[in-house]
């Protein structure tokens, strides 16, 4: 099928399958999946600028489907999502400006590659350690106590640090009854800003950093972090789509085709979350940033732009 906006020939079946896979990941983990979608579009000859912009447009559609499903399951904190969207947009702008600074210095590719490898490996290692420790601890306590249903149960070996952060009383304090947390507005904005910074600097929706930081820094239960992150991605990715579209980087026809597969995948992923406890979802998340790191390392050493 010929897509006249980006002047590329791509099989619609390929796009639907890629959309489906990313939809499953997005619905289950609350990530945009740009680290897979970008290279997948590059692989079939879509120019890099179109791959980035079109991927963002596709993320908007997929996140709407997954967030609606998560909302039906009671996994979306709308108040938190709206506050975070403000910080994310601010961070994304600063990230984009930083890119311009490094572009002028002539070392943008090297800096972005090194920073992304460090961040991806850091997140994976930390989440592997934390979820492993939490699962081992809950196994011990389950053996001692009576059986408890897995369902949406959540626990974290990092909880003492999260509790300490929640005790910082920097006004205004924001009450989030859906998440069961009261926390300073500034901490929420800071977490969102860092997520936005990563999104603007490294590309994509940056769900790989926002979802874990919602769990570990803000103390949001994993299921709610996944659903709220998706809701927040709708707003920030829409903004990103608009800015990329006016630069001529979005082939909306490709995004619409990908979205047909993503709609089914996202529903499947979102529904699957209710069968897994929080620490298991976090443990299953570990390979995702590693895939991102592997792609960056490959492009660094081979010189190929996937």
């Amino acid at each position: 099928m010929f897509f006249p906006i980006s002047h590329t020939h791509v099989s619609p079946i390929y796009l639907v399958v890629v959309g489906f896979l990313i939809g499953v990941l997005g619905g289950f983990f609350g990530v945009g999946g740009s680290f897979i979608a970008g290279p997948a579009l590059r692989l079939v000859g879509v120019d890099w600028n179109f791959a980035v912009g079109t991927d963002l447009a596709h993320i908007v559609g997929k996140s709407v489907v997954a967030a609606k499903r998560h909302r039906a399951l009671g996994n979306v904190d709308l108040r938190l999502g709206l506050i975070m969207a403000l910080g994310t947009i601010g961070g994304a702008e600063v990230g984009a400006q930083l890119i311009e600074v490094f572009k002028r210095a002539g070392n943008v590719n090297f800096v972005v590659s090194v920073v992304s490898i460090v961040i991806y490996l850091g997140i994976s290692s930390f989440m592997l350690w934390e979820s492993w420790k939490t699962l081992a601890r809950s196994k011990r306590s389950t053996a001692r106590k009576s059986k408890t249903p897995a369902g949406k149960s959540d626990d974290s070996a990092f909880q003492h640090v999260t509790k300490a952060i929640q005790r910082w009383r920097i006004p205004p304090m924001i009450s989030l009854p859906v998440s069961g947390v009261t926390i300073s507005l500034w901490i929420i904005l800071l977490v969102a800003f860092v997520g936005g910074l990563c999104s603007g600097f490294l590309g994509g929706g940056a769900g790989y950093i926002r979802m874990p930081s919602m769990v570990y820094v803000l103390g949001i239960p994993t299921h709610l972090a996944v659903g709220t992150d998706l809701f927040e991605i709708i707003i920030s990715a829409s903004y990103g789509t608009f800015t990329h579209a006016i630069k001529g980087n979005v082939d909306i026809l490709i995004a619409l085709v990908m979205n047909t597969g993503a709609a089914v995948g996202a529903q499947l992923g979102a529904i699957s979350t209710q069968y897994f406890a929080g620490p298991k979802i976090r443990l299953a998340f570990v390979p995702l940033p590693l895939i991102g790191a592997a792609i960056v390392i490959y492009t660094m050493f081979s010189g190929h732009k996937l």
Partner: protein, 85 residues
């Protein structure tokens, strides 16, 4: 895995496969009908009115997502006897 949960998984997978077939037929029709007619207009917008194109692009992807979510939820309800998950 107990016999009951095996049957439930089998029923879910069968419903999902059936759902995919119906969905694939709908999507194929959608490609050839809607995208074919929209293609020319969108290319024209992209080259002549880029800001309008940006707004239309977001509205299209949001609109399609809402419709697809309703279609998939409806299909799930239909095939699983009133349950959507």
């Amino acid at each position: 895995m107990s016999q009951r949960s095996k049957t439930a998984v089998r029923r879910t997978l069968r419903a999902f496969a059936f759902e995919l077939v119906i969905y694939a037929a709908l999507v194929t029709g959608y490609f050839f009908a809607v995208l074919h007619f929209l293609g020319g207009w969108l290319v024209q917008l992209e080259t002549q009115h880029i800001r309008v194109y940006a707004v239309v692009a977001i509205l299209l992807i949001l609109g399609q997502a809402v419709v697809l979510e309703a279609v998939t939820t409806g299909l799930m309800r239909l095939l699983r006897g009133g349950r959507s998950e």
